[in-house]
């Protein structure tokens, strides 16, 4: 009987991790639906980006208030997780404060966790106020209605509850330590929870133990729940920000890919030795689709981008189109891509791992032509994103599909392109007049 708690703990832990692993597998499968792309270049720059942008949060501080609060929560998250290691070992082994033997260092650790926990509570509260009371414009765009808004708040609530549980557990523990109840060895420093401890003063030992145990269990169950919540939430960025900043764009922002499939065709057309009437090669693979109309046409890094997006809206709040009331919102481009990818994934789950066409696609059913044509390709969204997401590349790929597969450009643009084709300039001027300016006064 005495091993029952250990057993329950082990079962919970294994179940929590197993469920998480299953979702991670799905995540990887879905991302791999994207087209291959070579990311073996610029390795050292990529590592540098990951360390500076994800680990060092270098882009967060562009907005100092949110940046500072975010760093507090981020540090809290990383550092307090050291404590989770002890909790897991205690749970499995049936010990209590296994690391207490570290003595002074242990006190230092627990003390810093407590201070961080308090800071996290303050930061999370301020974040909540920014979202719900101050109503910053970037949290109010139409794409935030419904689940995304709820998700944003839920994350804050969960974080708050976890921190409160952590401090409650310590406060009860501290009280029991003072009363010299076994197995509550005197260990740790409690700079914050000592102020909660007086609440337990008049309670019986068994009640305090009940509080301590309840907080302990809820805390670890909460962490396992949070771990599994990630996959369904924008909070996935806490994991994916690392690979995403590594695989993010390393070339100048203005450099767009040259489509290789097009290069081949152009070379063929320009080759004076090519026979335009040659019979097409029977075995040639079907011509590649130009551009993207659905998630499978995007590259896997773009799909990773979509899962990484934390819906902060920094991109949208710098987007000239969005700022002037156009429908385009780069954040929505990323959210739509993720939603559609999830839909495709669920379709595959329901059909033994193969995608059965559902008559829908990213273009049109999620992202409208109007949004795509409003983009000025200014790269403000790419610059603003704190975790190296490139919404512009998705917009461009979809424009390519519209123009090259569907000839569906706005008529003004068709005129412009016709002019380039016929006279080498976007306006109807004769190429032979190109130097006339030099003779005009």
């Amino acid at each position: 009987m005495e091993y029952i708690p250990n057993l329950i703990f082990a079962i919970l832990l294994v179940a929590g991790i197993a469920f998480f692993t299953q979702n991670v597998r799905k995540l990887i499968r879905n991302i791999k639906l994207g087209k291959a792309v070579d990311t073996s270049d610029n390795t050292s720059q990529r590592w540098k980006n990951m360390i500076a942008i994800a680990l060092g949060q270098s882009k967060m501080v562009v907005r100092p208030v949110a940046g500072f609060l975010h760093i507090v929560v981020y540090m809290g998250f990383i550092i307090i997780n050291i404590e989770v290691l002890e909790i897991i070992l205690d749970g499995l082994l049936g010990t209590h404060r296994l690391f207490a033997f570290l003595g002074g260092f242990y006190s230092f650790l627990i003390g810093s966790f407590e201070i961080l926990a308090l800071l996290v509570i303050v930061a999370v509260t301020l974040f909540w106020v920014r979202r719900n009371v101050i109503k910053l414009r970037r949290f109010l765009n139409p794409e935030m209605a419904g689940w995304p808004k709820k998700d944003g708040n839920l994350i804050l609530y969960i974080e708050l509850v976890l921190m409160v549980l952590f401090l409650t557990m310590n406060a009860a523990d501290y009280t029991l330590q003072q009363m010299e109840v076994a197995p509550y060895v005197k260990a740790g420093a409690f700079p914050v929870s000592q102020f909660i401890a007086p609440l337990f003063q008049d309670m019986s030992v068994s009640t305090i133990i009940l509080w301590e145990r309840t907080a302990w269990w809820l805390h670890i169950v909460g962490i396992l729940f949070f771990l599994n919540y990630l996959y369904y939430s924008k909070h996935l960025h806490i994991l994916l920000a690392f690979p995403n900043t590594y695989f993010g764009k390393v070339r100048p922002k203005g450099q767009f890919d040259n489509l290789e499939a097009v290069t081949k065709e152009v070379r063929l057309m320009m080759d004076p030795n090519a026979d335009p009437f040659a019979a097409p090669d029977e075995n040639a693979p079907p011509p590649e689709k130009f551009g993207a109309s659905d998630v499978m046409d995007l590259e896997w890094v773009q799909l990773l981008n979509a899962y990484t997006c934390t819906e902060c809206g920094r991109c949208t709040s710098e987007c000239p189109a969005n700022l002037t009331g156009k429908k385009l919102s780069p954040r929505k481009i990323m959210m739509d891509t993720r939603d559609r990818l999830e839909e495709v994934g669920k379709n595959m789950d329901a059909n033994k791992g193969v995608f059965v066409p559902d008559g829908k696609q990213l273009l049109g059913d999620y992202i409208t032509h109007e949004e795509l044509w409003a983009c000025t390709s200014c790269n403000a969204c790419v610059e603003a994103c704190p975790i190296s997401i490139d919404p512009l590349s998705i917009i461009m790929d979809m424009r390519q599909y519209l123009v090259m597969e569907q000839s569906a450009a706005p008529s003004d643009l068709n005129n412009m392109m016709g002019n380039i084709e016929n006279n080498g300039a976007p306006w109807p001027f004769n190429q032979m007049d190109r130097l006339n300016w030099s003779k005009e006064s």
């Binding site: 100048p252 189109a321 002037t324 790269n379 190109r434």
Partner: protein, 263 residues
């Protein structure tokens, strides 16, 4: 016109057995747009005064394909690129200067993958170099104490991280360089990029160039300096829509320098 512009073409120089140091890529706006042609001429005047050995392609130049590419027509872009690269490579061009950030970006970043490898600089970088090497002095002083703000072209700034060259030149004018609240890497687009120049904007509550002009007006500049023919048009239109053309001038960096050089 007191002294005529000297604008040699690559064809002429090659026929004379000469190779210029640098090719001036004029671009479509610089060749055909009335406002942009003034920028082109101002830049050529500076090149002439500094005795730079340069040439243009003239009628052999064709659109880089940038607007086609940003509109999604990769096919047309690559046709243009391959054609231009053939011409450039035939003339063994090594270095290119251009006053258009869109041409600059495309030539510099997107042509190499298609076989066109050149050293490409924006005219503000080139002018800064002329200043540093003493080929121009910029001592006219017409702009002393004037409030000048620089509107960052997206394809020069964010796209290619060139922020300082134009600013260094403005400072050298003895002018007061004032910054808009969103500038450099956070500069707001003028609204022309991504082929927007050639179409009507989507439905919204304001035009982007008007929004950008409002940002500029907040800091009460005498001059909005630009480094791109399209930004120039957009900002000029924006200033007109606010009926401020009497008090705010929109000028390219090359025009500012041509003025202080008394050209």
């Amino acid at each position: 016109m007191e002294n005529e512009l000297k604008v040699p073409t690559m064809a002429e120089l090659t026929a004379a057995g000469k190779q210029p140091e640098v090719l001036f890529w004029v671009g479509c706006a610089g060749s055909f747009d009335d406002r942009a042609k003034k920028i082109t001429k101002a830049f050529v005047k500076i090149l002439n005064k500094a005795n730079i050995s340069f040439a243009v392609l003239g009628t052999e130049e064709s659109c880089t394909g940038d607007p086609a590419k940003r509109a999604g027509n990769e096919f047309l872009f690559q046709m243009q690129a391959v054609t231009n690269i053939e011409v450039l490579n035939a003339y063994e061009v090594k270095k290119i200067v251009t006053a258009c950030p869109h041409c600059f970006n495309t030539l510099k970043n997107e042509y190499p993958g298609l076989g066109g490898n050149y050293e490409v600089v924006h005219h503000t970088q080139f002018l800064k170099h002329l200043l540093e090497s003493g080929k121009i002095s910029m001592e006219g002083g017409q702009f002393r104490g004037k409030r000048i703000t620089f509107h960052d072209p997206c394809y020069l700034g964010r796209a290619n991280n060139v922020y300082e060259a134009p600013r260094d030149l403005i400072r050298k004018l003895d002018a007061e360089l004032v910054e808009m609240k969103s500038c450099k890497s956070r500069g707001l687009c003028c609204g022309a990029g991504g082929a927007q120049m050639f179409k009507e904007p989507e439905k919204g509550d304001k035009d982007i160039n008007v929004k950008r002009t409002e940002q500029a007006m907040e800091i009460k500049p005498d001059i909005i300096a630009a480094g791109c023919p399209f930004c120039n048009t957009m900002m000029t239109d924006g200033v007109k829509s606010k009926e401020k053309e009497a008090s705010i001038a929109v000028l390219d960096i090359a025009e500012l320098i041509a003025q202080v050089e008394d050209l």
